[in-house]
Symmetry: C2
Subunit: 209 residues, 2 copies
Amino acid sequence: MFRALVVEDQTLMRLALMNEVQASFEKCVVLGAETLTIATAELQNNHFDLVVIDPGLPGFDPTSQGDRVAVVDKIIEASPSAIHIVVTGSDNRCEADGFRQIGAAAYLGKTGLAPGVFSDVLDDISTKGFALRLSRVVMTKPDYRFSVLTPREQEAIDMMAHRAPGVKRKEIFSLMADRLAIDANSAEKYYKQARAKLMRQGHPLPHGL
Amino acid sequence: MFRALVVEDQTLMRLALMNEVQASFEKCVVLGAETLTIATAELQNNHFDLVVIDPGLPGFDPTSQGDRVAVVDKIIEASPSAIHIVVTGSDNRCEADGFRQIGAAAYLGKTGLAPGVFSDVLDDISTKGFALRLSRVVMTKPDYRFSVLTPREQEAIDMMAHRAPGVKRKEIFSLMADRLAIDANSAEKYYKQARAKLMRQGHPLPHGL
DNA sequence: AAAAAAAGGGATGACACCATCCCTTTTTTG
DNA sequence: CAAAAAAGGGATGGTGTCATCCCTTTTTTT
């Protein structure tokens, strides 16, 4: 059984990261720790295959480079056989190099760290040995979330709203079909159903229909 | 239709906050903006009932108090009729007072901001006019997440694992029943089913069974 | 010893979502 | 104009979770 540990003080972010880990492994157990104290206690008693670390933990100065390195270093030494991924809001290439030298397998900025990226990072680690994803702004339009839509329908609207100009809807349906491992016709159906729901309720549709 | 906007650059956090907003309102539309540029564009063209803001946005100095206030102030002025909630990782009481003076209805620290807290905050706002939740460490044990469990089963394990010493299981079942608006017998069933699943797969159970 | 709590399971219907295949009409594009 | 794309809908079976009610046996309290 694959075992992972996520060390992050911000609850919503910790849960989101735990979700990402779960989405990347068929069957697994993921533990979440809010503090370094809890994390080290777990690392002493159990084995882990993967540890995700945000160095900005309570009790440490987030602006002190020494504190940040100390946190990561302590965790790496307590779980030498695990893969270690550093996730931070205030990322920079210099710090990435530092963490790489002490044994981290990946360094990720929180901005732009979207659902699904985590799996790609794990692929990069197993092929190239190290993964680097610095924060970068990617959105040009807002994301829409409608409570009346099912996840599939929401996904369909999402992808269509982010369609590049000139791209045909058919192409989006194919892309969606690939990503969700379903038929393109089904993808088209979800989009149409979602659109119909929104129209029926008089919603101002996101630009691009 | 209730309309909300979440302004936060960290994607996973933005999605989590959008989820929280959705969970607090039966039917609603929630928009997510990664940058102040996107946010202001939306605020100009549409009406919003609720705006959630993280002042630490790309293009601004997160350590500069002036920048942080400028971001929030610009958004509040662009949507004077909306409720404004400030969410930040680096929270302190002083900044909370400052944001309150310029019109924010709530100030929340990200640490300790767990699923469900958002609803409580909204209640506080409508009754007391202002809500303050500074970051604080609350966990003493790690959270466990098992991919084999359904959400209900996971919830049951979660609550039972965090049972205070001396508290009877029956009491936890009642509490769970209240929180999920189900029968206590059903809550008990979920727990037993979850426990059985984990045992069957030879999982080391979280302390407290 | 009696009573309560806990452990362990079986069976059930309701319901939402997933995924598919089918159909017609209108609009846009080549 | 002809062909492709898009819009709009109806019907279908499968599946997983939710929520409930029922049962027995073992352990712990009182």
